[in-house]
């Protein structure tokens, strides 16, 4: 369980978050949603201490974030950023860097690190691409490679910042299936999503942000149907049922 209590965050003196109270349940998929510029990325970056000016409390399994060293934090929370560099290295090498928090200077990778990497590559079905350069991969394959690195990091929490961006529809659903499978490994997944249908499809818990504040939180359908959703986005989510379950589309 991750808890945010009275979280304020600023960049260069401009306050982005104005007192966020939220929780992300253990072993579930929690989705942060909200309009552009509402503070979603700032919230997840605050979880990783990537925002310089933060006030309030963040608890990870009851441990205050501030009491963790940088390595300890990296052994608890993994992060897949929205915008990823494509360095001139192989997939295997990238995934190997997930083991960085477990090593001290001069950081030579051990047998057990290689074992974690092989496991992560196998789990994401990337074994055949292990020797390929990142730059030779498609966007979906690179996304999986970064997820494998996060998995090799062996953390309880994995944060995905807009992971479906630039992916085709098949890769979007495959990614969400991987996220679900990660929760079955006992991991807590926190991600930012924009698409209401995808949110309905995958989220156990949704936190709706608007102008740096929590507007609503709860189950996916509960939040999507709330009046706050319409007020925050200025659109109306509509629902329909098929034999596969409930689906969502948006009326402007």
């Amino acid at each position: 369980m991750i808890e945010l209590k009275g979280l304020y965050a600023s960049y260069d003196g401009a306050e982005i978050l104005h007192g966020i109270d939220a929780r992300f349940p253990k072993g579930k998929i929690s989705v942060l949603c909200g309009p552009n510029g509402c503070g979603k990325s700032t919230t997840v970056k605050a979880l990783l201490r990537l925002v310089p000016e933060v006030k309030g409390t963040i608890l990870i399994e009851g441990t205050p974030l501030g009491s963790l060293s940088q390595s300890e934090l990296a052994r608890r929370v993994a992060y897949v950023p929205q915008s990823r560099n494509v360095p001139d290295i192989t997939v295997y090498r990238l995934v190997m860097h997930g083991r960085f928090p477990y090593l001290s200077y001069p950081r030579r990778y051990r047998k057990e690190d290689h074992a974690h990497v092989r496991e992560a590559l196998k789990w994401l079905e990337l074994e055949d691409l292990a020797d390929r350069k990142l730059e030779s991969l498609s966007g979906g394959q690179r996304q999986k490679a970064y997820m494998a690195m996060a998995l090799a990091q062996d953390t309880d929490v994995i944060v995905l910042d807009e992971p479906t961006n630039f992916l085709d529809i098949r890769n979007q659903y495959e990614l969400l299936a991987r996220a679900r499978a990660m929760t079955e490994l006992g991991k807590t997944v926190v991600m930012i999503l924009h698409d209401f249908e995808l949110i309905l499809h995958c989220a156990d818990h949704v936190v709706l942000l608007g102008e740096g504040l929590v507007r609503a939180s709860g189950g996916a359908r509960e939040v999507l149907e709330s009046s706050e959703m319409q007020r925050t986005f200025g659109v109306t989510p509509c629902f329909y049922e098929t034999p596969d379950g409930v689906h969502c589309y948006v009326k402007p």
Binding site: Q70, L73, A78, P81, V86, R93, H97, P106, F166
Partner: protein, 340 residues
């Protein structure tokens, strides 16, 4: 998938570029020792090596001219190539190199100041060159960060810093004629006036800095993943970046302190190295050291022989090679992406 214990074929395949680069370095160094205004056969070379410095004319040429010069080429080539590779990784910018972003100019200015003050060799010159290189590095990096500059703007900031520093250097040369005499080798870079007093302290610094960089190759690679990713993997990004830039400045500054403003080594060698062995830092850094040493030694040899008995400064030859290479890189980079 790579095995924990790679097969002997894989090991051989990965070791082959290192073997060839070492062979290239050895051949260049041997040719550099043997060839020149007075040629030395292999037998004479061997005899002169065994006899000591003052036994014959050939021995004096070898011990007082060829060995210091070849050692200087090897050290400067390795230092500048590794410095370039580090800067390109840290700034995530394949156009960056010590000569392009102003590091060499900072070192050159510091050496000009030393010469103006009457200090021509020793630890003080090497230390001052390092300090000058370091100041120029952080001037460019801080300017780029404050202005949230794009990758190209970092290079432009380097061009501006280089112009300013060179203007100050030229002013010192104009105002203090002795400094101009002592430091004119620095304008284009070359090895004909290299001496042991300058080479020894700088050489020690270069070897120590390369050894330090070799222990930080994982950190170097994490920085190329981007600041947020590196931070989320537990790395202290700003101190690590500053440490690596300091080592890059040390390598470039120490090289410039005896070789002058040799351009483009830090640009050309890392690019060719990446083409040959890929971008993994653990292999790239040692390969750049070996290949850079061989490359500069060969360039110095060509510049000695091409218009013999006249000698072309090595820096001029490097500029002939490096200028077009830089333009080619600019054209090649158009439309390429290094992030999703």
């Amino acid at each position: 998938m790579p095995n924990l214990r790679p097969s002997s074929t894989t090991t051989k395949r990965r070791a082959l570029p290192f073997f060839l680069a070492s062979l290239f370095l050895f051949a260049s160094a041997l040719a550099s020792l043997c060839l020149g205004a007075a040629g030395l056969s292999l037998q004479k070379l061997w005899a002169a090596l065994l006899s000591g410095p003052d036994a014959s004319a050939a021995a004096r040429i070898l011990w007082y001219a060829r060995i210091p010069r070849t050692a200087a080429c090897i050290l400067a080539g390795a230092g500048l190539a590794v410095s370039g590779a580090v800067i390109q990784k840290v700034l995530n910018n394949s156009l960056a190199s010590p000569s392009i972003i102003g590091i060499n100019a900072g070192a050159g200015l510091a050496v000009a100041v030393c010469c103006a003050l009457g200090v021509y060799a020793g630890w003080l010159v090497a230390g001052a060159a390092f300090a000058g290189a370091l100041c120029a590095t952080f001037l460019v990096v801080i300017t780029a960060r404050k202005s949230r500059a794009s990758r190209t703007t970092v290079v432009l900031a380097g061009v501006a810093v280089t112009a300013c520093l060179n203007a100050v250097t030229e002013t010192i040369r104009t105002m203090v004629p002795d400094a101009a005499l002592a430091s004119q080798d620095f304008r284009v870079g070359g090895f004909h006036a290299v001496n042991q007093a300058r080479l020894l302290p700088a050489g020690i610094l270069i070897l120590l800095a390369i050894a330090a960089v070799c222990t930080l190759t994982n950190e170097l690679e994490l920085l190329s993943l981007g600041d947020d990713t590196a931070h989320s993997l537990g790395m202290r990004v700003a101190p690590t970046r500053n440490l690596l830039l300091t080592l890059a400045a040390l390598l470039a500054g120490a090289s410039v302190s005896f070789a002058g403003l040799l351009g483009f080594v830090g640009l050309i060698v890392p690019h060719i190295a990446r083409k040959l062995i890929g971008g993994e830092s653990g292999r790239l850094i040692p390969f750049c050291a070996i290949a850079g040493a061989g490359f500069v030694t060969l360039c110095d040899l060509i510049s000695r022989l091409i218009f013999a008995p006249y000698e072309l400064p090595t820096g001029i030859l490097l500029s002939f090679l490096g200028g077009p290479f830089f333009v080619w890189l600019l054209i090649k980079k158009r439309g390429s992406h290094s992030s999703d």
